[in-house]
């Protein structure tokens, strides 16, 4: 079995609060979506690999998000931790001309 990337809409850009994160379920995965103050949208896995903290509740800037439980720092573009934790998973995101946010999720397909 292999998988292919399918884009799933999570709604309009305007529905995302500026600078904050929100959690969405995308094909069973919990994904934290951030809309930074510079207008870029990032999608990373929603659960901190350290102790299961809610990443979407973390403080973020244009580069990183800080898990609210133990202040572990992760890069939004790469998912890499700057504080020695395993990385977050990163999902591809794009915003359509109509302002719709599409997140790429791997969907299993039969070979």
């Amino acid at each position: 079995m292999s998988s292919e990337l399918v884009e799933i809409s999570i709604g309009s850009l305007e529905s995302l609060p500026i600078g904050e994160g929100r959690t969405f379920t995308i094909d069973g995965d919990m994904v934290a979506i951030f809309r930074t103050r510079t207008g870029v949208v990032h999608a990373v896995s929603a659960v901190c690999p350290h102790a299961g903290g809610p990443i979407a509740d973390g403080l973020a800037d244009t580069e990183v998000v800080i898990c609210p439980l133990h202040q572990h720092v992760f890069e939004l573009t790469t998912g890499c931790s700057r504080s020695g934790q395993p990385p977050l998973r990163v999902y591809p995101v794009r915003v359509t001309d109509a302002g719709e946010v599409l997140v790429g999720a791997p969907v299993p397909v039969d070979a």
Binding site: E20, G21, G52, D57, L59, L69, G84
Partner: protein, 822 residues
């Protein structure tokens, strides 16, 4: 062909230098001259051989085999008599002539023998029964002689003399220690310390004679006694002369090399004006100083090796600040710098407890340690050495230099701590991990803290982390420019930051980043601190931005490990009512709250509330927030006071409720936990609060500030004793506002108060010495007026999805529900 290296001296300095050269892959044909017919041994441990604590074989560093293994030609037992600098050869007392390309002189010291009649026998050198204490042969001779003799006089009350006396004692010898000066170890100790050491030594059974100048060694065939300048005599059948050492410069002087007190060397350890001759150890004089301790010698050997091998041609020795830690005659002694104050303005902190043989003194000049002595208890040696070496900031309460009181455990020695010692107990970071991080290339304290997360929990280990990083970086710790910034992302200290914010009228976090951060870049780590600062500065005019708030402040509850929240309603002074309890019970039932618990601040905590339920929970409770989640004014803990308690002398409950009503919810650099207690029995624990009020008899109230009973334990400092609750309110307002305006982000009062100093705070806030009190009161009043309860005001979401769950993936709550058994 390899260059020929000749080393004159096979003692600790010579052998160590050769080891360092070999370690750097130095390619030389090495010849070493050694006076003594042995390999290389640790001279410091000779006193242990004398006392019987160690065998001779235990103190050898390099056996003869080491020399042959490394291709070193050891000329043991051959004395170098002269160097021909022009022919570049060394003449030996066996008639040998050894050519060199590079030469190292490491001739060490010789014992100083004060002029005394009868010391020498014309034929044999020393009179029979007279010994010096420098070599293995000296030590063997003493041990042999001690077998069939009974009484000894040891001349010299310094380190060596004390060790000799102690060692002989173990051979059943009755020992008298004779010292020409007024107190023992006079180069390391002051008079009082010397007196205490004397008492400790006498307790061991050693007789001590001070101010006793020995002029004669008595006895014709063998020793029968010594005679002092004042005419007194002491009978004995053995004399040990341990009156100090002198640099051994014989061969250098005989070869026309520059010698003052010792051989003159430059910063590369080269003999002055000689390109190919080096000198190292006790025989050198560097920048006017000679050293008789081992640590400087190690440093010199490294520089010499770096230079002679070309590993680092720019290596330079800049001299050593020496601190000694010794066990002298069974007594721990540590000493550094000068022994007694030299100027009227020098601070001299002294503690003496002669009965237990303990003496501690520290001399401070311009807020830096310039000397310290510890006797009997050297537990503070680590911190003092570091402070002495590096000029670390000193605690305001100088007594902390001498003792570990409650408070930040900053004084553990970084050097002495074992690698597996856990430094950060919150995030489980060991000393070894910190050191590895530093050797891995991160040389700033904040860098190491970011990488390892040490110091990022409760923060109580920060100063220790700082010391370890400094120690591991070996003085190469990089100045971290951000250390003084209020938050890491905006390069300003708090006063300058506040000035810039005010000058430019910056009322939101994003505007601060845009105007003041490098490149206008926002920084997640800086947001909480900026929110707190801007709210404090602007009150009502603050422009709130949800994304700058920490999650707790977005939803006004405290996030728990499973992503649920805890809700703590306000319960002023810990006073509640049947109505309030009934309501809380109903809410707990309705939302299936998994745990209801009393908090340390005398309130009720509802734990495990789902994020999406928070607004409904507040609505159903209809109570103000207890602020159990923010960096803000938290609670006022009270006892029942005079209304009910038969001991109470003041109405602590009413005053506590009044304080909480006035200052509730105010944001601050760190949590503010208060208490009011009705009598000095202190049931409300007011002595260990950020601000604690204690009613005392006569209608008076004491106000303590800077207390803590969390990760740190600290009793607060008495700010003032006042005679009315109104004055308590006034001073509380002034202190809290002063703290809000001047403390660093996350700096609790237990650090802030000692940093400013209680006297200074008293002048500022009680005496109003600088006329700031009216302003403080005015700004505090504005803050109080601007206060809005977030639960009553904030039920409508401020942002889309503010209360949307972020972790619904787990069955909530996962905190185990505890059954309460009746």
């Amino acid at each position: 062909m390899a260059q020929r290296l000749v080393v004159i001296g096979n003692g600790m300095a010579g052998a160590r230098t050769v080891e360092e050269i070999l370690e750097r892959g130095g390619h030389f044909d090495i010849t070493m001259f050694g006076d003594e017919p042995y390999g290389n041994y640790n001279r410091i441990l000779l006193s242990n051989v004398l006392s019987g604590a160690e065998e001779e074989s235990d103190i050898f560093i390099n056996s003869l085999g080491w020399y042959s293994d490394n291709g070193i030609n050891l000329r043991a037992g051959v004395r170098a008599t002269r160097i021909d600098r022009f022919a570049k050869v060394v003449h030996g007392d066996d008639g040998s002539v050894t050519p060199y390309d590079k030469l190292i002189i490491a001739t060490g010291s010789t014992p100083f023998i004060p002029p005394m009649e009868g010391t020498y026998n014309a034929k044999r050198g020393f009179h029979q029964g007279v010994f010096s204490f420098r070599t293995l042969d000296d030590t063997r001779g003493m041990i042999r002689y001690a077998r069939d003799h009974e009484t000894a006089v040891v001349i010299g009350g310094g380190l060596l003399g004390l060790e000799a006396a102690r060692g002989l004692l173990n051979h059943g010898i009755k020992v008298t220690l004779v010292h020409a000066m007024g107190h023992l170890m006079n180069t390391q100790l002051d008079e009082q310390g010397g007196a205490i050491l004397k008492a400790s030594v006498e307790k061991l059974g050693i007789a001590v004679e001070l101010n006793a100048m020995t002029t004669h060694v008595l006895g014709k065939d063998s020793v029968t006694g010594v005679k002092f300048k004042d005419g007194r005599t002491i009978p004995c059948d053995m004399v040990v002369i341990a009156a100090g050492i002198r640099p051994n410069t014989q061969v250098a002087a005989a070869s026309d090399l520059p010698v003052e007190r010792a051989i003159l060397v430059d910063d590369q350890m080269r003999v002055q004006d000689e390109a190919d001759i080096y000198a190292v150890g006790e025989c050198v004089q560097h920048r006017g100083t000679t050293y008789g301790l081992v640590a400087p010698l190690w440093e010199q050997a490294k520089v010499l090796a770096d230079h002679i091998t070309g590993t680092n041609p720019r290596a330079a020795y800049h001299g050593s600040r020496t601190a000694t830690k010794l066990k002298v005659a069974g007594v721990d002694v540590a000493a550094m710098g000068i022994t007694s104050p030299e100027r009227d303005t020098d601070e001299f902190v002294v503690f003496a407890e002669p009965r237990r043989g303990i003496y501690k003194s520290v001399i401070i000049r311009d807020d830096r340690i310039i000397g310290a002595t510890l006797l009997g208890d050297v537990s503070k040696m680590g911190f003092l050495t570091q402070a002495f070496d590096k000029g670390l900031p000193l605690p305001e309460e100088r007594v902390r230099l001498l003792f570990d009181l409650g408070g930040p455990p900053a004084e553990v020695s970084a050097a002495e701590m074992p690698d597996d010692n856990q430094v950060c107990n919150c995030n489980g970071v060991s000393k070894g991990q910190l050191v590895a991080c530093v050797t891995g290339g991160i040389k700033t304290v904040t860098g190491v803290m970011d990488k390892t997360r040490a110091g990022k929990g409760c923060g109580s280990c920060k100063s220790l982390v700082c010391q370890i990083v400094e120690w591991a970086a070996g003085g190469e710790v990089e100045e971290d420019p951000s250390a003084n910034w209020y938050v890491p992302g905006v390069p300003y200290a708090k006063p300058e930051l506040m000035e810039a914010i005010r000058a430019q009228g910056l009322r939101s976090v994003s505007s601060v980043f845009a105007a003041l951060a490098p490149g206008g870049k926002e920084d997640a780590k800086s947001k909480m601190g900026l929110v707190s600062l801007l709210r404090m500065m602007w009150g009502d005019e603050y422009e709130d931005e949800n994304d700058a708030r920490f999650i707790n402040d977005r939803v006004h509850a405290n996030i728990q490990r499973d992503g649920t929240f805890s809700v703590v309603p306000q319960m002023k002074g810990g006073v509640t009512s049947p109505d309030q309890l009934r309501k809380i019970a109903d809410v707990a039932d309705k939302y299936e709250v998994p745990m209801v618990k009393l908090t340390g601040g005398q309130r009720i905590d509802l734990l495990g509330i789902r994020k999406e339920d928070l607004p409904k929970v507040w609505a159903d409770l209809g109570m103000p927030s207890g602020y159990a989640y923010g960096k803000s004014f938290r609670t006022v803990k009270t006892c029942v006071g005079s209304d009910f308690c038969r001991f109470g002398v003041g109405d602590s409950t009413a005053l506590g409720v009044a304080i909480e009503s006035r200052f509730q919810g105010l944001e601050s650099p760190g949590k503010m936990k208060l208490a009011v207690t009705g009598c000095p029995r202190n049931c409300a624990e007011a002595y260990v609060k950020d601000l604690g009020v204690v009613a005392i008899d006569g209608g008076k109230w004491e106000i303590y500030i800077g207390g803590a009973a969390g990760a740190h334990i600290r009793k607060g400092d008495l700010l003032a004793t006042v005679d009315s609750p109104d004055l308590v309110m006034t001073l509380t307002g002034r202190f809290l506002q002063y703290y809000r305006e001047n403390a660093n982000w996350l700096e609790r009062t237990y650090s802030f108060v000692p940093r400013i100093g209680i006297e200074k705070l008293r002048e500022l806030l009680v005496d109003d010495s600088e006329g700031i009190c009216a302003g403080l009161e005015e700004r505090m009043q504005e803050a109080v007026d601007a206060y809005k309860d977030p639960w009553l005001e904030g039920r409508e979401p401020r942002a889309d999805g503010q209360f949307k769950p972020s972790l619904p993936l787990l069955p909530l709550p996962i905190v185990p529900v505890r059954e309460v058994h009746a």
